[in-house]
């Protein structure tokens, strides 16, 4: 299980069977250049593997205004 915090909405969700960043982005319907994906303060590229218990922050980049 992976916990995902989505900004700027401030929403939280949990994902199962999501083994890579690209799989996570696909589940959130985001393209790789539409969000920053962060784990423990580090930016992750789409190929990076995810693990059970990971807490991920997804920051969407399209600015509002």
């Amino acid at each position: 299980m992976i916990t995902v915090n989505i900004e700027p909405e401030g929403k939280s969700t949990t994902l199962y069977k999501t083994r890579t960043v690209i799989a996570l982005l696909n589940k959130l319907d985001l393209r790789p250049t539409m969000a920053l994906v962060i784990r423990n303060g580090e930016l992750l590229t789409p190929d990076v593997k995810l693990f059970n218990g990971d807490v991920i922050t997804v920051k969407k980049v399209i600015s509002a205004g």
């Binding site: 393209r31 920053l36 590229t45 990076v48 399209i62």
Partner: protein, 308 residues
């Protein structure tokens, strides 16, 4: 994925550049893109004084920091719009940022100019964002000129510019298509305007901001009815995903091939400009648009029995 430059683990993949960078090398890529923009578009030199418009958003702060790191003579200008909750936060963010990095900052308070945005929203019968935008452009230009600056820099990125171009192309707005671009030369009372981040995408600017400790999300203005161009940005984002690099080539080829053609088409038009009677800003009437708004606001508030 490994860094294209040093082979360390990458933090940022950039399909449009066929590259990936680590947190040490990405800022070098960013710097290079800004240098190329400044050089190719003849934006400014190290001998000139640059005023940087600082809204408090990630793009404007990233731009200010990057230009100062490149050794340019930069001063920030923040316009405090006097909108409850939102303006104090934006201002505090800009002030803290400039203090942290030792950057020069000027703040203009529209309330002191007789133009608080909430009163305008209440008493002026026009979309508040169009008046607000007009006021901001007016003071950016005026303060830049009065302060003897050589150029005004804004944090518009490639996504902003490509989305705006796309919107104007859908309407074939030849006025826009003839005179927009990353450098607008100064003329007749107008300061030179430059957009040094125009080669960098929103994603790239966000990565840079994150690495430099700049919060990438700001609280949206309570008066904004949803962001402009967001739909267009998403469409272009899909196109970019299928065909990396297409966003930049759409915009860059417009500059190279589209704009010159529209420039030829667009005849000299518009009324001659002269200084505003009240504030000296260029206008085709006796008084400039902002001075007229101020008078209308005073009159309407008086009639409503209110005062600033």
């Amino acid at each position: 994925m490994k860094c294209t430059r040093c082979k360390a683990p990458a933090s940022t993949a950039l399909p449009s550049h066929n590259a990936a960078f680590c947190p040490d090398c990405f800022p070098l890529f960013f710097t290079k893109q800004v240098e190329t923009a400044i050089r190719r578009q003849k934006m400014f030199t190290h001998d000139e004084r640059i005023l940087v418009a600082l809204s408090g958003g990630k793009d404007s702060l990233a731009l200010m920091l990057e230009l100062s790191l490149q050794g340019y003579d930069v001063t920030g200008l923040h316009i405090d719009l006097a909108i409850p909750n939102s303006s104090p936060k934006a201002r505090a963010k800009v002030e803290a940022f400039c203090q942290q990095h030792g950057l020069n900052l000027q703040v203009l308070e529209v309330a002191k100019e007789g133009l608080p945005i909430p009163a305008i929203k209440k008493h002026i019968k026009r979309p508040v964002c169009s008046v607000c935008g007009k006021i901001k452009r007016h003071y950016f230009n005026r303060i830049a000129r009065e302060g003897g600056f050589d150029a005004l820099a804004t944090g518009h990125n490639l996504d902003d510019e490509a989305a705006r171009l796309f919107a104007n192309t859908l309407r074939w707005d030849s006025g826009y298509l003839s005179d927009q671009g990353p450098t607008l030369p100064g003329e007749e009372g107008f300061i030179r305007k430059v957009k040094p981040l125009y080669r960098l995408t929103e994603f790239e600017t966000a990565n840079y901001a994150f690495m430099k400790g700049i919060e990438i999300h700001s609280d949206p203005c309570p008066y904004s009815g949803g962001a402009s161009f967001t739909g267009h940005k998403k469409l272009l984002g899909e196109l970019e995903h299928k065909s990396p690099g297409s966003k930049f080539s759409f915009y860059d080829n417009f500059l190279k091939r589209g704009r010159p053609a529209f420039k030829l088409l667009e005849k000299e038009q518009g009324d001659p400009l002269s200084p505003c009677d009240t504030c000296g800003s260029p206008t085709s009437l006796d008084k400039c648009g902002v001075c007229r708004i101020r008078e209308t606001l005073e009159r309407n508030m008086k009639e409503a029995g209110e005062s600033l």
